[in-house]
Structure formats: structure tokens, C-alpha cells
Symmetry: C3
Subunit: 444 residues, 3 copies
């Protein structure tokens, strides 16, 4: 394995079609598993991921105090159904695991429709979709079904069965660390707790898995940490158990919603103008895809925890359609047809482009600050003068020279010169080779 390959090289040589195909295949493997914030479904999913990257599995016992929270009992489920008086399963967990209210306590009972009714969840405005609902922290049981299905239920004596268990056990999560030259870290966090829902967040799980795989083969500046955790309680647990790691995290991402066909959205970290926020913006600005930059807000995915005031990490969210804003969100319509291989591949590409900025950014010093150096005698400038337009690469050389006074990073220069970062980076490399530029901050 050649550890000298850079992100720039892998970015430009990546076979996106193949990467998309591979990520989609992983989504497909993971889709049928009934995951929750704890339990065997989560473990089975980590095992599947481990076929691609060597993740460590961590087990945190029920009852562990994590800041204001307590690791809950572990939930497992074998079967669940509602049978009518003819013994037919009118709601059947085996057909779709969304049918059970996630974290339902066990129940075994017979009841009328009107007794059952308060335990049934539907989406009247999307009558053909089954909602995804949970009750992690309040003991309850229930079923989710399409509104059409609900309306077809007749007055009857129903047999209700949920064969689940809620017992002392563990919260499980997966973690992989890829070491770079520096022990400063870039964090990728994705929630792996949703059952049969593809965009949110099997797409994130697959993108993170393949990004980790790609990074493993590169020569890296930063150390990269990927965590596959249950939402909310998982992020809180990880932060509570890894407080010494937190100060080393220089940049981070919540990876979610990367497979739908919507425009890209980058949600800034709480800091608002962190390097990762600016890197994401400069990349999306020049990538040619439609995109939107969103301000930080304290709801959404696990950035809620990473960006809580006492943690305040520079963690942003790169997704396609944002959290909760696609109508398929948290319904059975977020299925294998809703995410596309090419969408995940393009999302992966944007992550690589952002990492190219973070890896390549630095402050340089123009070695010849009084007037321009004579680029022509160094073969860096056209020899025939008088032409109208400035080639973009010459512009980049001039921008880098002009702003490399010790107060501007290459990212600053890309922003001010309104140029793609890779052009600026390339210009800096050429000037460095010509001894016209020297780094003044270590790129490790």
C-alpha cells in the first residue's frame, strides 16, 4: 500500500460509478435488519460494515451514566403482529420492521379495535406509507401502519403480540481510527440505529464506510476517526466516554442523508465560520452541483450534541436534502428506490473535495514580497505579452503571491480570489517548487 498517494490524486482518479455500486450494495445488505439504539440488529449491522473496514466494536453497559443521560436497557425483538379473529396477520413485523413501534415493550393480549386504536400510528396525509416511530425513554408498545391499512381494519377481536425484550445489556457502537502524520483528528459520525430506512441513514453509513476505506490507503495529514453510533444517546455516550479525545478534534462531520436526488446542503457548525464550514462552502461553490449553505440550528442530527455549548466542536452536516425536509423522511418510502448509487457517489466525491481543502490548507510566505517576482524567467508566465485574458492558472499564481503575506491561508486565498481550492493548491505547489513560496505553518 503506497502511503504517499494524496487525496487530490484519489479524488481525480476515483471510479465514481463503481464506488456508487459498492455503496448501494452495502445499503441493500443492511436494509432488512431491524436496528434500534441498542440490540442485536445494531451488532449485526456493524459486522456487515466490518466486511469492508476493520472497525472495533464497543459495548457500554446499561445504566452507565453519560452526562445527563443513562444508557438504557437493551432492546431485542423476534416477532410482532396483530392477528384478526380469522388468525390472519393484518399487521406483520416480518414483512416490514417499521411496523412495530421501535422499543416496544412485550405485549400479548386480545382486544377490540377501539382498544387497539391508541397504539396504532399512521400518516393520514400520506395514506400509503408506514411511519417510523420510536419510544425509547417511555415504556410503551404500538404498531405503525399505512393509513389505508388502518381504514381497512374492521371491528373485530384482535390478537396482539410483540415478542420483544427490554433488559440489562449494552449500547453498542463501532469505531475506526486511521492514523495520519498528526494526532489532530477529523471526526465522521453517522447514526446507524434506524431500521429499514435507506437515505436516513444507511446512505450515511455506506458513505462513511467507503470514505474510511479510501482514506486507509492514503498518506494523510490528519488522523481520521469514524464512529457508527445510535443517534442522540450514542453521540452523548461517545462524548462522555471520550472527553480526552475531544480537544484533538479539529474538524468533523455528521454524515447523513447522502443518497437522495436533492441538492446538496451543508449545515454550518455552531461556530459558523470554522475551517470545515469554509472548506465545505468553497467546495460546493465551485463543484457545479446545486447547493445551499444552512446556518447552524440546534436541532437536526447528532450535531445537536457535538455543537452543544460545552462541547462546541466544529462539526457540520453535509447532506443532500436536509434532515426532515423530504416527504419520505421517517417513512417506509425511504426505501431502496429512494437512494441512488450515483447520488451517494457524488456525495462521497464532495467529502473528498472538502478533505482535500482541510489536508492542503496552510499559510505560506511569499519570499519576494516587494513587487511581483519575475515569473517569466522561471517558466511560470507566458512569454508573449499583450493578450487580453489572464489564464486561470496565472491568476492563481498572482493571487497566491499577493496574499501570502503571512496572514492568509490558501483557503482565504481561494475565497478572496473566488477560485476552486485545487487551483490555488496547485499554484502554491508550483511556487514552492520555484522557491518563491515557503510554508510558515506546518502541514505536518
Amino acid at each position: 500500500m503506497n502511503r504517499r498517494i494524496t487525496i487530490t490524486e484519489v479524488k481525480s482518479s476515483l471510479d465514481l460509478a463503481l464506488a456508487g455500486k459498492d455503496m448501494y450494495a452495502l445499503v441493500k445488505e443492511l436494509y432488512p435488519i431491524c436496528r434500534s439504539i441498542t440490540g442485536n440488529g445494531f451488532r449485526a449491522s456493524l459486522k456487515e460494515i466490518a466486511n469492508h473496514i476493520p472497525i472495533q466494536t464497543r459495548e457500554v453497559p446499561t445504566g452507565t451514566q453519560v452526562f445527563d443521560w443513562t444508557v438504557p436497557r437493551e432492546w431485542n425483538i423476534k416477532d410482532a403482529y396483530v392477528k384478526n379473529s380469522r388468525g390472519e396477520r393484518v399487521i406483520d413485523f416480518k414483512k416490514l420492521n417499521l411496523h412495530v413501534l421501535n422499543y416496544s415493550v412485550p405485549v400479548q393480549a386480545a382486544m377490540t379495535l377501539s382498544e387497539l386504536r391508541p397504539h396504532l400510528f399512521t400518516i393520514p396525509e400520506h395514506p400509503d406509507r408506514v411511519p417510523y416511530r420510536t419510544s425509547y425513554y417511555k415504556e410503551a408498545w404500538g404498531f405503525c401502519l399505512s393509513h389505508n391499512q388502518l381504514q381497512s381494519l374492521v371491528d373485530d377481536r384482535y390478537e396482539v403480540s410483540i415478542d420483544s425484550s427490554l433488559e440489562k445489556g449494552h449500547l453498542t457502537y463501532g469505531e475506526i481510527v486511521i492514523h495520519g502524520r498528526s494526532d489532530e483528528e477529523v471526526l465522521f459520525s453517522c447514526h446507524n440505529c434506524h431500521p429499514s430506512l435507506c437515505n436516513d441513514n444507511l446512505s450515511g453509513v455506506a458513505i462513511a464506510t467507503f470514505l474510511a476505506k479510501l482514506l486507509s490507503s492514503l498518506g494523510l495529514r490528519y488522523t481520521y476517526r469514524f464512529i457508527f453510533i445510535p443517534g442522540t444517546i450514542g453521540a452523548i455516550t461517545w462524548l462522555a466516554l471520550n472527553e480526552p479525545v475531544v480537544p484533538r478534534i479539529k474538524h468533523g462531520f455528521v454524515v447523513a442523508g447522502g443518497g437522495d436526488s436533492g441538492p446538496f446542503h451543508y449545515k454550518r457548525s455552531r461556530r459558523g465560520e470554522a475551517e470545515v464550514d469554509r472548506a465545505a462552502e468553497v467546495v460546493l461553490k465551485h463543484a457545479g452541483d446545486s447547493y445551499k449553505i444552512l446556518p447552524f440550528s440546534p436541532y437536526g442530527y447528532d450535531e445537536r450534541q457535538y455543537c452543544s455549548p460545552g462541547i462546541n466542536l466544529p462539526v457540520g452536516v453535509l447532506s443532500r436534502t436536509p434532515h426532515g425536509q423530504f416527504p419520505e423522511y421517517h417513512t417506509s418510502a425511504d426505501d431502496l428506490t429512494f437512494v441512488k448509487p450515483e447520488n451517494m457517489a457524488r456525495t462521497l466525491y464532495q467529502y473528498l473535495a472538502i478533505l482535500e481543502v482541510l489536508e492542503g490548507n496552510g499559510v505560506y510566505l511569499n519570499q519576494n514580497q516587494k513587487c511581483e517576482p519575475q515569473l517569466g524567467k522561471r517558466g511560470l508566465y507566458r512569454s508573449v505579452g499583450g493578450v487580453t485574458s489572464q489564464p486561470v492558472n496565472e491568476s492563481a499564481l498572482l493571487w497566491v503571491l499577493n496574499l501570502s503575506d503571512g496572514t492568509h491561508s490558501l483557503l482565504d486565498i481561494a475565497e478572496q480570489g473566488e477560485m476552486p481550492f485545487e487551483i490555488v493548491l496547485q499554484a502554491a505547489r508550483r511556487l514552492e517548487e520555484a522557491n518563491l513560496l515557503q510554508p510558515i505553518e506546518s502541514n505536518a
Copy 2:
């Protein structure tokens, strides 16, 4: 009198129709009186206001030096007219007190139309309106009349009479102070010197009077001071005589033009981003009325004095159509039909909403800054998860928690979260009750 009622309560329980009716009745009482910057008309108006709130009357002698100015002689008037040769009053002060140039010196003379002409003021572009004109600081006499009226005057021998006096006396103003827990003050200033003109500024006088009345019954954080003064010279006189009070004024308003049907306008103080400026903006942004925020400029009403560089108080102007920008301004068309009870009532409501911000604003400390606290176990969060949208009240809880790191006030949070202040305030109260939030700056 229950001193524990808050502005939030009075704001939501106020009978706006009744308040509008009461304020309009006061405007109607005051309308016929011939006011000026000094004199008995001003005193009579204060007496009328005193029927509603216990104002103090202050008398400042002619000749008192007030900064660069001198309190002028007192002006009083009994009658004024122009009679034609048939003895008919063709211009008659008794019919409309605007007909006399305010502060006219006494005159008793007979003259031709062409001799009279230089003393006559009209508005040719609004030929049916009588203008309001003054000559406080230069001895002059004159009559104001409609342009139509002027054109109907024939060549004749006219008897001109102004039975006025300009003598040593006093400048009079009214003042009321309503004490709160703190001796930091909120100033309300309104000019009470205009004769029969309703929007400018009997509407302001009426709104200030009823606002003072409402505040008198509340438990208040700040001390409130209302002054009813003549324009310009009154503000200068008050500031010159009350220099020790000035540093205690934390927020202030010039109350004027609150009765017409135009959109709301808030003109910022000279400081531009004072708390009162931001409070007014956050209120108008969410109130649902059309509105505009205006930058400070050094002309307009008495903010000219409060915002002079050596005073520089955070005093803004909340009005409907701004100073000088409605065509009825300073004409006989600014009459009892031009102001509406419901307009004044809605303006009063906006003042209450702004005061709610000023009274309720403060900096709090999230007691649990590492990750979110578990709101669910405290009954502050929905128990069934997975739903798409965030209820506004949950959002407000999250915003308050996220930004209450000791550097953001509730007003900052309302601005950044783009939420009505009252929602933020309510969220802060709920979190304080749940011991998740503590004030770090006294709300007195």
C-alpha cells in the same frame, strides 16, 4: 393593586378595542385647544392628561439658559382674525386655531390685500388645506389659510387683528415617574405643543398617557418616566435641567405619529444597535404588521436632542408613517378623521411588546452544557420520537439551551433563532423551573 402582574400578562389580556376608544376620546378632548411651546393651551392640555394619570407640572421661567438655548417668552392668544370691509371675518382663529401663525406677535392694523399678502401662508399643491406654521424665534405675525380661501380674497381694505401676548412667563411641561425594582429608567417623550393636529402629536400624547396608566398597575423591572414637553426647546430644557437623570436612562422612545393607517416605522437610535433598537426590530419582525426599520438620521422629532453627540441616549422612534412623510403632516387634514382608535390601539400593543422584551431580557446559564440535557424525563419533550417537524416550543427550548453559554442574552437568542421573543422568554421560564437554566445577570 396587584404589583405582580407582568407585561406579558397585560399584553395578552388587553382589550384593544376599549383602549383605542379611550385614547381616541382623549385626542378628541385635546383637539380644540390652541397649544404652543409655551402658554395656557399647553397647561390646559396637561390638566386634561392629569385626569388619567397623576402627572406633575413643571414651570421653567422665561430666560432660563438651557445649553445653547434660552427659554423664550410665554405666548398666549385670545383671538385673531382678518375682517373685510363689510366686517366679515374672512380668516377666523375661532374656527380653527391653525389659522394664526403660531407665536404671532400682537397686531392691530388695517391694510390692503397686497400689504397683507406677505403674512399669508398656504399650500398651493393642496389648495383645500390650511398649513400649520410657526415663528418661535423670530418676531413675526401671520395667518395660515387654504389656497382656495386665499384666491377668493378680493382687493379690499382688511382689518387685521391678533390679540396675542408674548411676555415673560414660563415654559411648562408634564412628567410622571413610575417606579420599578431598579432605578434604571425607560424614557417616553412626547411633544405636546402642536395645536389642532391629531396624528402629530395628539396620538402620541394619548398613547403615552394610556401606556403610563397600564404600567402603573404592574410589577416592573425598570423605572418608567413619561414627559409631555414642547418640541425641541422642551427636550433641550428637560435635558439641561435633568443631567443627573440622563445616565440612568437605559432605553427610550419618542412617541409620535401613532394614529394614522400607515405601516409601522421604527427609527433606530444614534447608537444603531442599542438594546431598544434590537427589541423593536424583533417585535416588529414577528408582529405580523407591515413595518420598516429606519436608520438614525439627525432630523425628525426630539430624538434630534436625545441623540445629539453629547447626550447620545439609546432613544428610538416608534411611529406609523414617519415624520413629515404623510401628506396630511402639519396641515388641517391631520384632523380627527385622520387618526383611528384601532391604529392607536395597535401602536400601544407594539409598545407593550417591546417593553416585554426590555423587561424580560437577560443572560442565562445552561446548567448542563455538555450535550443536551434529557428533556423527556422532565416532561419537556414529546415521548414518541421519529416525527418530522419540531414544535416551535421544543425548538425554543433547544435554542435557549444551546446559546445560554453566558455570552448570549434571550434577545440574542430570539434574533439568532428567528423566533418571537415571547416564545424564547417562555422557554427560558420553563427551563429555569426545571433547574436547567440560571440567570447570570440580574433581572432585578
Copy 3:
């Protein structure tokens, strides 16, 4: 010569038609001369300018080291042509000096069209125009011609002759210093090296010449320095040889492209918000011409050198259509029909207006900061009150008084009050005469 005349006076009394005519006449004189970055054409042009203003000529020997550059050999040319086998000059330097690649080494040869072809430069997209091309720093020879002309050339044996010399000599530039009360300087730099091209930059040369002439007769605050230099190497040479002068330069302009009919463009200095940048913006905002303010970028004219990081002077560029953005740029179409006397005159006027700001700007102290002073008793305010609108001059008085608290310059006041600077300046003068205002920073 009355040294008390101010820029304000000259600006308002200037006969623009005459100034335009005079500048155009100078352009016409200079047009036929074959200039380059060195040589006798440059010297002849300076002699022509010296007929209008007493410039000094400076000679810098070939081989002088100037920062990263070396003063090149001097280039002179007598004749150049391409003759066909019938002895006809099919390309003829005598007809248009653009026909020779500027700085061509001497050549005397016979060759086929295909051998000649690599030495011919055209503009296929503008087939009737002859391009302007140079090869200062790489030895080469060539001809520039219209694409139509190229296409009419037949296969033939051509005689090629360039009777030029490239030998040790000098780089020549011209300089004039006009002393003001302060030795702080305003720099005007214009490149004088282009051969028969009018807008770029004979227009700049003519405007600078006449501006220097106008300033010579005035009482001035600043010292003004005009330099007529070859582009790039001239600016670098001047900076390298005048390092002690650099810190005295408080404001500066690159004068170029002032004769076409496009809208005005002001390109900010690298500092972005320098006084000269703000002065140019406030002038263009109120001048009534269409205009655009451009951010700094490190390519264009000699601002590249003045705004290099180690020099970083507050030097902006006022032009009409900017550098390289008119299709006639660096072609034979930039001729005597492309520039207009009235365009140059209006550009000259804008320069005067900007200098009026720089000369007149300063910080004043309101002598009466508590409330407004009584302007009426000093004859500075209307005597009859109540009128609707504020005359612009009264507004300016109030703005100057309100902001003259020691932290705002007159330029700040013009910006904040959105008023023409000359109105603000006039208001300050009136207030100073009335002893209501005192300068606290010397206007020398």
C-alpha cells in the same frame, strides 16, 4: 499665480469642453510615436509632455537590479517590413507601428510563408484588427497583422526585415512633483510604454498631464507626484529606486483607460477600505454617471506592483471600461476614434472630485455637543417652522454636528448621511465660520 485657489473652485469653474479638446490634441500628437518599455520613442513622448508640464526625465542603466528584476537592454527600431517577391511591402511598420512584435530582435532574411507563419500574430475573431503583442523578456521577432491580411498572403518567397537594436542603454521615465503644505504625497502613475494605442494608455497620459497642470496652480494640502513610466518594469524600477518615498504616499492612482465611452470603474486598492477607495466611491455614487466599484485583484495595470504585499500602497485604479474588458483592447481598434475628448474631460472631472475629498477630509469637533445648537440665531436655519421637507443644506449641517464627536471624518459623514462630499464640506465650512465646529486633525 494665486496659490489660494482650491480644488473645489477649479472643479466648479473648469471648462470641460476646452480641457477635453486639449487632452485630445495631446493624444493625437503622441499617437504616431512607436513607444516601448525603453528607447527613443519613450523619450520623444516625454518631450511632448514636457511642452505642458515641467517633468524631469530619469534614465536608469540597463542591468540595474530592481527587486527580483533587471532593467533590460534598450530597444530601438527604425523600420520593419515583409516584402513579397514583387518587392511590395505586404506588412509595413511605417504604416502602423503595431505591425512589429514589440521588442523584436533584428532580423534580415528570406523565407517561405510557412517559415514566416510562426512569427505572425492575428486575432481570428476580429479579422480586421491588428493585435498589439510584445516579447520583452524572451528574444523573439514577429509581425502583427489583421487576420484578413494574413489570409490574403500567398505562397511566395518573402523578404523579412526588422531594423531594430537591442543594446545596453537605459530605461527612461518622467516625473513631476507638485509641492503642497504637507510632504505627504498623492501618487499618480501612468504607463507610457504602449505604441499607437489611444485608450490604453494615451488617454491616461493626457489626463495625468492636464491634472498635473491644473494642480500646479492651486493651494494644496498634499504633495502630488506624477510618474510616466513603462508598465510593470517601470513601476518596479521606480519603487526599487524610491523606497524612502514610499512611506510618504498616503493615496495613489493608476491612471489608465480614461477615454472610452464605457461606465466608470474604480478598482479598490489591496487595502480595500483605504481613504482613497472610500473617496472614489462617495464621488462616483453622487456624480450621476453610471459606475461600478471593483474589488482588488492582483492582475490589471501597475497596481499589481503598488499593491504587492511588501509595498501595499493605497493605490486604486479609476478608469472607464476596465483593463482588458473592451474588445478594442490591445488592438489597432484602440485608435483616435475610440477615445473622445468629452470622455477624457469627464474622467478628469472625477479625479478632481476625488481629490476634493482627499484634500478636504478631516475630523472636526462639534463645539456644542449637548443638544443641537440654536442654528436660527446664527442665520443657519429657516425662520418659519412647520414645513415638511428638510433642505439638503440644513440636513448637512445637522449631520455634521451630530457626527462630529471626534470619531467621524467628513468622509464618514458623507457616507453615513448619503450626501455628496462637497455638501458636507460646505456645511463644515459654514459651521466653522459660526464657531460651532473646530478641526481636531490638521488639514495642514
